[in-house]
């Protein structure tokens, strides 16, 4: 968590950062950094009364005032409430296309929301680096939730017997969770099996792939 002298105002803290990293920058740069961090209305307030979220934003303003090409944020959403977390993520996402942001987090939903590229560290070693989407696609088995009208047990048994199925089991009175070895096998095979069983299919939805599941799959596969 950033710390500042509580008797300084937000504008003075940001201006101090400007004087140290970009002394030639104008006062306007300070105002712009505060506005980008969502603190324009609190520029004249002393930071001793700031909440944790506001201190995080002030830390971001101090980093932005130097117009860095590379910004390293160490767990910027830690210790923030859900609203503060959402604001911080929105601010970071708004930097897309203007600067490179390296963002460390244990909250993978945050990473999935804003990161184009992801690196996964385990025991001090980088075990994956690449596009976030590729990680999800590569390490997550495709899954579907199939809803059936009527008796679903014969359909679940038929699906479980397929060579391309890794898991097929009822998860509700009218739903079967099906995991396949590949996206194509599932998309072709599931409708065919249901048709062969003569069952009435209500719906077949892909289970949303998330980074957390991919992370677990990746780290589990390497353990």
């Amino acid at each position: 968590m950033p710390e500042f002298d509580g008797w300084l105002t937000a504008a003075e803290v940001t201006d101090l950062a400007r004087s140290l990293v970009a002394p030639s920058a104008s006062k306007q740069a300070v105002a712009a950094a505060l506005a980008a961090a969502g603190l324009a209305d609190s520029a004249g307030r002393r930071v001793g009364g700031f909440s944790r979220g506001m201190l995080q934003r002030l830390g971001l303003a101090c980093a932005l005032v130097g117009e860095p090409e590379l910004l390293i944020l160490d767990e910027p959403t830690s210790a923030l409430d859900p609203a503060g977390r959402a604001e911080m993520l929105s601010m970071v996402a708004a930097m897309r296309g203007r600067r490179t942001v390296i963002f460390s987090s244990h909250i993978l939903a945050d990473v999935q929301r804003i990161a184009d590229q992801v690196g996964i560290l385990r025991d001090g070693r980088l075990i994956y680096q690449g596009a976030t989407k590729d990680l999800i696609d590569t390490y997550l088995e495709p899954s579907w939730l199939v809803r059936i009208a009527g008796d679903l047990l014969p359909v679940a048994a038929a699906l479980a017997g397929q060579p391309w199925t890794t898991r097929a089991e009822p998860v509700a009175a009218d739903a079967i969770r099906v995991d396949a070895t590949s996206l194509e096998a599932g998309e072709r095979g599931i409708p065919a099996v249901i048709a062969r069983c003569g069952a009435r299919q209500v719906s077949c939805e892909p289970v949303a792939a998330d980074l957390e599941s991919a992370f677990l799959a990746l780290t589990g596969a390497r353990s």
Partner: protein
């Protein structure tokens, strides 16, 4: 979102203004001035009325003192160089130098400054300057009240004694800066700095070096005010004090550079 407009009233920030605001917006400057002025006003009264005061608390015991002199009236104030005044200056300076005690603040400063002298110089200059200014204010108060109650102290002696006090306080701030690089906490820094400053007079027991030690300046005012010594007698102590103070600041910069956050 609010627009990015720079208020016209902003004054440019830098590390010097930071220290000025630290003095101005916290009770530091006021505390230093209040302590020295308080003792400046108190000591002449105690000197002038010491017989009457002791007779009131002495349970009938009568104590006779020689008539109060102007030199004695202001000497009590200069004794604060080794007392409450010194402690207050060290505590206030320690608060400014111990930025490493606050992890987030240390990261903010250390990742942005290009040299540690840039952190030390304003802190030393502003704190030593404020301590010196407060001490001079107290000396003026002591001089004025002594003039009213006892008589006018010699101006030459007053100026010489005040100079000794200002240099001594600057030395104390430099020692505090170095102490802050040996430990991280403010309390520990105060303890080490005061131990170093109070232990130095012990070395003065060895007469051949007594006149060369920085502690000679804290005891000099009494001799300067009474006319026992001239300011030139203390030139060796001035030289050593300035040299050791500068060495303490240089050592503080070197230790800050070597220390991990």
């Amino acid at each position: 979102m609010a627009t990015a407009t720079a208020p016209a009233t902003w004054r440019p920030m830098n590390l010097w203004r930071l220290e000025w605001l630290r003095l101005k917006r916290t009770p530091r400057a006021l505390t230093m001035a209040a302590v020295f002025v308080f003792f400046g006003l108190l000591q002449p009264i105690l000197t002038r009325y010491q017989s009457q005061l002791l007779s009131h608390v002495g349970n009938g015991v009568r104590v006779s003192f020689p008539p109060a002199t102007p030199a004695a009236g202001v000497s009590g104030y200069f004794g604060e160089l080794a007392g409450t005044g010194l402690i207050v200056v060290v505590v206030i300076a320690a608060g400014a130098f111990t930025f490493d005690a606050h992890h987030g603040l240390a990261i903010f400063l250390r990742t942005r400054v290009t040299g540690f002298w840039r952190l030390i110089a304003p802190r030393f200059t502003v704190n030593a300057g404020a301590a010196g200014f407060a001490f001079v204010l107290g000396a003026l108060a002591a001089w004025y009240e002594t003039y009213l109650l006892i008589g006018a102290p010699a101006v030459g002696g007053m100026l010489a004694a005040t100079l000794c006090g200002v240099v001594s306080l600057g030395y104390a701030v430099a020692v505090t800066a170095f102490a802050a690089t040996l430990v991280r906490g403010t309390l520990a820094t105060v303890g080490i700095a005061l131990a170093a400053l109070f232990a130095l007079p012990i070395a003065g027991i060895y007469r051949p070096i007594a006149d060369w030690l920085p502690s000679a300046l804290t005891s000099a005012p009494a001799a300067l005010l009474s006319g026992a010594h001239h300011l030139s007698h203390y030139l060796p102590a001035f030289a050593v004090t300035v040299a050791v103070g500068a060495a303490a600041l240089a050592a503080a910069v070197a230790r800050l550079r070597a220390r991990e956050i």
